[in-house]
Symmetry: C2
Subunit: 195 residues, 2 copies
DNA sequence: ACCTGAACACCGTTCAAGT
DNA sequence: ACCTGAACACCGTTCAAGT
């Protein structure tokens, strides 16, 4: 399963010359745009290649198939969110429990809202079986950062934090997703905006 | 949105003669089988029609498109689960809160596990935008049954129960889904089995 | 009233040929 | 080293023709 992800769903080759670097960047950018404008349902390799005026063949030189393209974008999006959470965790060791939880929730929610478009666009991709595997893999990273932080909270002592961490993550993810899907980001943006 | 669902995602016509009733039943059955054997990714109208030896044209006489076929099966599955929950709610009015919660959880979890195959097979279909709309619509029915029951609990009085009901639902759904996706039903079946 | 299946437009992916 | 685009196999959906 992890093998499949690595062997067939990842970029085929890293660009080593400037021309191809620009091509890859253009394809990547086009992927997001097509996703945003047409949705996953009408997300087509041809459409992606058309946008920067590149041949389909070229696209397939870098991504072995449609999914790998989708997942490259998904992975980037998730990485941004997770890095925000990890940073919040790192910066709040040894603080009171309440401060910790507030910091993590704020980091997660505002990272998600900063990328509201991408979040919504990628939602279906993330729901496919292989997409969920990717999400699970990255979510684990976030959870372990949270565990490490929580263990330094004065209120915690030597209690096991795995389950509470899982609950906190599920709650954050579920609530944020619900709000994004409901399509009401403007209001929340005021509360959680990064400024 | 609801209009779209009704106009284009629902069965085209009800069978009024016995021959077509059999045809529809055969298509429905084939849909489940193809879903189970090939997954959503390779779920094809041609494959569905092939199974009972029916023409693709016939399939499209009853379902206007692929999604409507998928959703018909999804709706049936969800209805079974929800009816189980509604029944549990109806039968536990005026009981202690703990009894109520235990009854609902048992009803939900065992209904899901009784249909473990279908649950897993339909997971992707339920994650598509329109699938989620359907899920949301049916989940609402379950929540209102739970609210009605909870209000008769001696511990509750006139407190608002909407939020707790939402949390209970999310928790049940999330946990059950996680277990089903992890593919470990045998163990849980012993605990929650319907016998 | 119901069914058939060839036909159409379109999609993912490949590969021989080019620079 | 990188790119092209015609070609292939396959898919969703339609519709004229049949019983």
């Amino acid at each position: 399963m992890g093998t499949v992800l690595q062997s067939s769903l990842q970029p085929r080759e890293k660009p080593i010359q400037t021309r191809s670097a620009r091509t890859v960047e253009a394809i990547f950018e086009a992927t997001i745009q097509v996703l945003l404008r047409h949705g996953v349902e009408q997300f087509t390799t041809t459409r992606v290649a058309e946008r920067p005026g590149v041949s389909v063949g070229t696209l397939y030189q870098y991504y072995p198939n449609k999914q790998s393209l989708l997942f490259a974008v998904l992975e980037r999006h998730l990485n941004l969110v997770i890095r925000a959470v990890e940073r919040a965790c790192r910066e709040n060791h040894h603080r009171p429990l309440e401060t910790m939880v507030a910091a993590v929730v704020h980091a997660y929610v505002s990272a998600k809202l900063d990328q509201a478009d991408a979040s919504v666009a990628l939602h279906s991709a993330a729901s496919e079986p292989d997409g969920e595997a990717l999400v699970a893999r990255l979510a684990k990273r976030a959870r372990s950062a949270m565990s490490t932080m929580l263990k330094t909270a004065p209120e915690i002592g030597s209690q096991d934090v795995d389950f509470p961490v899982l609950m906190l993550m599920s709650a954050m993810a579920g609530a944020t997703r619900a709000v994004l899907m409901a399509g009401a980001p403007p209001l929340w943006s005021e509360v959680y905006g990064s400024t």
